[in-house]
Symmetry: C2
Subunit: 210 residues, 2 copies
């Protein structure tokens, strides 16, 4: 039996229920650790579930920052330093990764608090997570203020990728399940994934096939 | 052994390889069918892997439209009519869903071409996918032009949710795996997911726990 929930229903339920509902209603999402460093040199790490692909040439990604009603270290560090990293989360670092979502003060490094190790390369000034297996280094490109609720979309260009030697197929595909990468539903339910189908490029004149 | 790929490497590889690499490098994503109807009344359906959560109060989502260098039916229909739907994809409709990514002309309904059924409610004018199990009806709110590559972020407000009677937990959580919802890696590899951990809300003064 199909049930309908109206906007009025959504706005009148208890706030925790509404937050769970709207955070989980789109289903599976990617989940990543975003690493930055402040103008004072304090490293910062946070869990995000909003990384999206914008394009391959140039290689651009974006993610969402919540309203700046309280200090958002990730946002301020990116604006101050111009760089950030996006790191996959796998099962062995899940607890440490989730712990970075706790509300630490500005002087505390979530790397230290959670027991993860900053990693730097010659070409990228923001900290990667050494324990992660697939790591992207990005340069800040532009930001967009979403008027409807004061969230911010930050756009970055991938300038470096760190990954295991044998991580990519001959065609350039990453198979994240081979490296234990996780996904998330809402803010706190972590998932592993299993491939059910590899589809061919779809064309109007023929039937879909695997 | 960890390997490093530079921006120069990314920009100098063969375009198909680069597209696969950048589309898959962030790992798992959500995947959804977005339904619209044109000003002439032709229904349209397309697969998208870029739906993100912006906030719960009001309930806002966003997704990415590729550059308007060719007609983007989803974009033009939303701008003309003001409404769209976001529908989960499950295994039994995977082939039909993927087929909607084929490049049909403006007069062809991807619903008909793929063998899916439009569904309307009294409160929402854009077509849902009847065969989907979790369906969101949204009203257009605002758009953002990403200067770096001419993609567009469209923001919508959830005004209706259709789902099975027993789909939500007492706390408002959706468990998408119970309804067969799928995720995607890149554009063509579809995944089912399995929960590995439900974490507690993280606090600075204590250890992470499930």
């Amino acid at each position: 039996m199909e049930k309908s929930i109206s906007l009025e229903d959504i706005l009148s339920v208890e706030p925790f229920y509404r937050r769970h509902l709207i955070n989980t209603i789109t289903g599976f999402k990617g989940v990543h650790l975003i690493g930055t460093v402040s103008h004072r040199g304090t490293t910062n790490l946070g869990v995000f579930n909003s990384v999206v692909h914008l394009g391959a040439t140039p290689p651009l990604l974006a993610f969402i920052i919540r309203p700046l009603t309280v200090p958002r270290h990730t946002y301020h560090n990116i604006k101050a330093r111009g760089y950030f990293t996006i790191n996959h989360i796998h099962e062995e670092i899940l607890k440490q990764a989730h712990q970075t979502s706790a509300n630490y003060d500005v002087k505390t490094s979530e790397f230290e608090a959670a027991g993860l190790t900053p990693q730097y390369t010659d070409t990228h000034p923001a900290p990667y997570v050494r324990e992660s297996r697939i790591k992207l280094g990005l340069e800040y490109v532009e930001e967009h203020h979403i008027r409807a609720n004061d969230t911010i979309m930050l756009v970055g260009k991938i300038v470096e990728i760190l990954l295991p030697e044998e991580a990519l197929t001959v065609n350039g595909h990453l198979r994240p399940e081979r490296w234990g990468s996780l996904g998330v539903v809402g803010l706190d339910a972590y998932y592993r994934a299993e491939k059910v189908a590899q589809m061919e490029y779809a064309r109007p004149e023929r039937q879909p096939s695997e």
